[in-house]
């Protein structure tokens, strides 16, 4: 397996009212192609900051982040935007979408903006509909975003993150604003995407979400305190038990 994400001595410092807040302190880890990595940790530990920094949405203070071998800290804003557009997908806790567009238009927006696939609008729209069908929400394609449920909207966000066939998807607590059943549905979809070969890195508080992943990073005070590999061959119950025990060891 090739390394898709390589993080070395990553630091992120915020300065608020002359106070220096070191949110990430010399973080080191790698993600290999096809992995599904969960980042867990207590509130304020730097999980989301880590996600936004390694995905190029936020600038790092020090260290290096290599995405597919290229150092993203050396990229200009426009180059980072193109990288996010073509090679990365994003899913947020709040199901952010443009309110003046229909669900389908929101889904295909990145593809229309990108010249990666060089296809006609009708072809892009068809791909968007196929994705929605794949996630079982084809009926809401032409709905406005305030006409659908949170679970449906989050699945539409997953479709949007997939539309440009990204090399990696970053998800910030994708189930955080969903009820249990919607949450499970969304995680099933992400797991299926991962099985299809998409690399995923997600931030979560929920062990039931993390257990769907292949590896868990535990972050405390801006440092990775430990990591846990989940054995796919184990039963779900065994995986949950193993993860919970590990989390307890980590002080969860």
């Amino acid at each position: 397996m090739e390394k898709i994400l390589e993080v070395n001595d990553l630091c992120k410092t915020y300065i608020v009212n002359k106070w220096q807040n070191n949110v990430l302190r010399n973080v080191n880890f790698t993600v290999e192609e096809g992995e599904m990595v969960a980042v867990m940790g207590p509130s304020g530990s730097g999980k989301s900051t880590l996600l936004y920094t390694v995905s190029g949405m936020d600038r790092m203070t020090a260290g290096t982040v290599k995405f597919c071998g290229s150092d993203i800290s050396a990229l200009k804003d426009d180059e980072l935007a193109k990288l996010r557009l073509d090679d990365m997908g994003f899913i947020f806790q709040q199901m952010y979408m443009l309110k003046n567009l229909t669900v389908l238009d929101n889904v295909i927006l990145p593809a229309c903006k990108s010249d990666k696939h060089k296809e006609k609008r009708s072809g892009i729209a068809q791909r968007g509909r196929d994705l929605l069908r794949k996630l079982g929400i084809q009926d809401i394609a032409d709905n406005d975003i305030n006409e659908v449920s949170g679970g449906q909207l989050q699945r539409a966000c997953i479709c949007r993150s997939m539309i440009n066939s990204p090399k990696m998807i970053f998800a910030d607590e994708p189930t955080g604003a969903l009820n249990r059943s919607s949450s499970e549905e969304v995680m099933e979809e992400l797991a299926r995407l991962n099985e299809d070969g998409t690399t995923i890195m997600l931030v979560t508080h929920d062990a039931k979400v993390a257990v769907k992943c292949t590896r868990v990073l535990f972050i405390v005070d801006g440092n990775i305190k430990g990591e846990y590999n989940i054995k796919k061959e184990d039963t779900l119950r065994d995986r949950e038990r193993g993860l919970n025990n590990w989390l307890m060891e980590m002080g969860w």
Binding site: M57, D77, D78, R84, M88, T102, K113, R121
Partner: protein, 800 residues
């Protein structure tokens, strides 16, 4: 209880303090719009009052009378006694003057000004009217060696206070210093614009002592009467009257100032509307931003009335501060708007500060009403709004009409168009505001251009000629010689034709002559000015109804005269010429700006021998070789040199010279264009800034999914470009009908009762102004949208 109240008040203050700090941008935007509203309302209401009461106030302050007569003393020495003998005349004031023309005044060896109108030289202690200086102070004394000047000479000559010039009257000569501009209620109107030189009595005596003064002495009689029609009828047979006019008609001479004033009034009303519409929108907009807070407050158990009071207190505070600043700004802004009108008139602005203050208080009241209306929704909101940030899921509009998947538009352009279509109210208001402002500029431009075009030539009762040359001196000579007036005029243009031939541009010369002739129809009797030109045919002129006079017993009248006499086409009126009554049939009605619409036309064969012309228009030249425009312009310049005068015009310039206000209106148009551009910039900047504040989440999301800064900026700028484009199209479509609607009534007052054809210049109206608005909007929106650069894709994590 008191403790709870105290705690509540402290909490209120804390919430307010936090709100003002945290929502600084939106609060500043509301404050700016309050300032604009207060400023526009206060200055505009003041202007409306000053303009609508303008003439009444000015006439009263100047001591104007009911009727005015101007005569040459040589032909009307007994006029004062004659007037005093009339039973319905209650008072007569005689103001002596010496009548001069431009040749009497020189500065540095050149004529002081190239005016074509008669100039009155007067003594300050003999004035019977109140004249005012630029500071609106009554001119009661003039220092020896100084002179105040009214009318158009100061502007034409560019003379400044303290500059010297000479007056030569016969053998008497004086060097005088310009003391300042004099506002003259009787002859100072732009449409009349006769100039007066107001001198010290000793200086006047020097000029008056010359024997030449005897021939040039004249008088203005200010007559108070309780029966204007009877006085007018009794003066109908008086000879040698240069001007006989009542106060009502005199008001019409201010029509050009009133056009400007009326346009300002329209502008003022529009500015008030624009300010309130935008303010209403902004308040609604900012309250939407508060949904989350309102939901949270409800969730923690704060009562509806308390929440509502919180916002009312906040907006009350903002509106008080805004209204106060607006009040201060309104004073210079109002003066700026009125500057063009108050140049020649004394306007009543004594209570302007008080009125402005009342307006600002009213603005605060209106804002509170807006807030009261907008905060009604608080009752309907539930704590869940805090979670949903105001999105209830309810839909009140149609689904998106456009679909990205089916559109051929570029993604960024699609997003911009879709946003405009999806929020019709929001962008509709901005479009309407831009369109109103653009239409104002277009209407003003159409008016200024029309008053400066050949299209109005027919309204001055002249035919179209190649060149018009105004020779006041020759006309004055003719008028001053009752026995040989016609011969002298004939001689003048014979000389002119000779000069033209000698200079290789042979042509025919003719002149429209004016004769004051008493006319009666039934019991109605009036003294009116008829035009005749022996060298043209009555059928060469434009009539609105009927057919041109074909015989010497046929005449055409203007609508205003026909109405005054109660006569119609086919009626026979009586003209008294040299004591002989002549019956004439009215064959046509027409409209005219001449004599403010009170005129008629005689057939060219009508016998005017023995009648003294009261005036004449410019000498009109029709070249034999029918030259093109460039050659005409060259010959105009040549004639200017030959006759050492600037008063040689082509047809369009002649109309401009006659109307006299096109430059003023063009200046007002330019001022309104600047005001419009400032408002457009302000609206584009403030609205875009509030959109950025409102759409922070969407901007962050767009960046997160891969839109670069340029795309986001283009998206935001394009929305305003689309709005400006739509408003330009709306303005272009509506500008012609709206110009007719707004300006035709004003043209009607001047005598064009059936309206006029407007000179619409497509390049200026449909290309340049829309492009200027478009460019300014795009520039303002673009610069403001650069602020989106500060929103990062990672801000999606911080958005509430």
């Amino acid at each position: 209880m008191t403790r709870i109240n105290k705690k509540g008040n402290t909490m209120y203050l804390n919430i307010l303090k936090k709100d003002l700090k945290r929502k600084k941008t939106m609060n500043v935007i509301v404050l700016l719009f309050v300032i604009l509203s207060a400023m526009f309302a206060a200055s505009s209401v003041n202007n409306i009052i000053a303009v609508s009461t303008g003439i009444d106030y000015y006439f009263e302050k100047a001591g104007m009378s009911d009727y005015f007569v101007v005569t040459l003393d040589s032909t009307n020495a007994d006029m004062e006694q004659r007037l005093l003998n009339e039973p319905y005349v209650t008072d007569v004031r005689r103001e002596p003057a010496l009548f001069a023309d431009r040749t009497n005044f020189k500065r540095n060896g050149e004529y002081l000004a190239d005016t074509t109108n008669t100039i009155f030289i007067m003594s300050v202690d003999k004035t019977k009217l109140n004249y005012f200086d630029s500071a609106n102070e009554n001119i009661t004394a003039v220092e020896r060696g100084k002179a105040y000047i009214s009318g158009n000479v100061p502007k034409m000559s560019g003379i400044g206070v303290g500059d010297k010039f000479t007056v030569k009257f016969g053998n008497a000569e004086l060097e005088l210093e310009y003391a300042g501009f004099a506002k003259d209620a009787f002859l100072g109107a732009e449409f009349a614009a006769n100039t007066r030189f107001i001198l010290n009595s000793q200086d006047y005596a020097v000029l008056n002592s010359d024997e030449y003064a005897e021939l040039s002495a004249g008088s203005t009689y200010y007559i108070d009467t309780d029966d204007v029609p009877a006085l007018e009828a009794s003066l109908a047979d008086a000879n040698g009257i240069l001007l006989s006019i009542d106060a009502g008609q005199m008001r019409l001479a201010y029509v050009m100032s009133m056009i400007v004033a009326a346009l300002l009034l329209i502008v003022s009303v529009c500015l008030i509307l624009v300010a309130f519409v935008v303010l209403r929108f902004t308040i609604g907009f900012t309250l939407e931003e508060e949904f989350r807070e309102i939901g949270v407050m409800k969730a923690v158990g704060i009562k509806n009335s308390s929440i509502r009071r919180l916002y009312l207190v906040k907006y009350f505070g903002i509106s008080i501060v805004g209204a106060l600043i607006g009040f201060i700004c309104s004073l210079p802004f109002g003066d700026m708007l009125l500057a063009s009108v108050s140049e020649t008139m004394v306007l009543g602005t004594e209570n302007s500060s008080f009125t402005a203050l009342l307006c600002c208080i009213a603005v605060v009241g209106i804002i509170m009403l807006f807030c009261w209306g907008s905060t009604r929704r608080i009752k309907k909101m539930s704590p869940i709004d805090a979670v949903r940030s105001g999105q209830t899921g309810e839909r009140f509009r149609k689904k998106s009409i456009m679909h990205l998947g089916k559109s051929r538009l570029g993604t960024t352009f699609f997003l911009a168009v879709n946003d405009v279509i999806s929020s019709p109210k929001q962008y509709g208001i901005i479009t309407a505001v831009f369109a109103i402002l653009l239409m104002l500029v277009m209407i003003l431009a159409n008016t200024a251009n029309t008053l400066n075009s050949e299209k109005l030539l027919f309204l001055f009762g002249t035919t179209k000629s190649d060149v018009y040359i105004t020779m006041t001196g020759d006309v004055m000579d003719a008028m001053g010689d009752p026995a040989n007036g016609n011969e002298r005029l004939r001689h003048s243009f014979d000389e002119l034709e000779k000069t033209l031939a000698e200079n290789g541009m042979p042509g025919k010369v003719h002149v429209e002559r004016m004769y004051t002739i008493p006319v009666s129809f039934g019991c109605e009797k009036t003294n009116m000015v008829f035009q005749i030109c022996p060298q043209t045919h009555a059928s060469d002129y434009v009539y609105e109804e009927g057919t041109a006079p074909m015989y010497d017993n046929e005449i055409a009248l203007t609508y205003l005269v026909a109405e005054r006499l109660g006569a119609r086409i086919g009626d026979t009126v009586t003209l008294t010429v040299n004591g002989e009554n002549r019956k004439c049939i009215i064959t046509a009605l027409f409209q005219s700006f001449g004599q403010l619409g009170k005129t008629g036309r005689l057939h060219e064969s009508f016998d005017v021998n023995g009648l003294q012309p009261s005036s004449a228009y410019s000498f009109q030249i029709d070249f034999d070789d029918h030259p093109g425009k460039d050659e005409i312009d060259r010959r105009v310049e040549l004639l200017k040199n030959i006759y050492d005068t600037k008063n040689v015009f082509n047809a369009a310039e002649f109309v401009k010279d006659c109307t006299g206000a096109s430059d003023t209106i063009a200046a007002v148009k330019n001022m309104i264009l600047i005001v419009t551009l400032l408002i457009v910039i302000l609206i584009a900047v403030l609205m875009e800034r509030s959109f950025i504040s409102r759409e922070k989440a969407e901007i962050a999301l767009m960046k997160a999914v891969g839109f670069n800064n340029a795309s986001v900026i283009a998206h935001h700028t394009l929305r305003f470009a689309i709005v400006a484009l739509i408003s330009s199209v709306i303005s272009a479509v509506l500008c012609i009908p709206l110009t007719k609607l707004a300006i035709d009534p004003i043209m009607g007052i001047m005598g064009a009762v059936n309206g006029v054809g407007y000179d619409i210049r497509p390049l200026e109206i449909f290309v340049i102004y829309p492009l200027v608005i478009l460019a300014i909007t795009i520039l303002a929106a673009f610069i403001t949208s650069l602020y989106t650069k500060t929103i990062r894709s990672s801000d999606t994590a911080d958005i509430e």
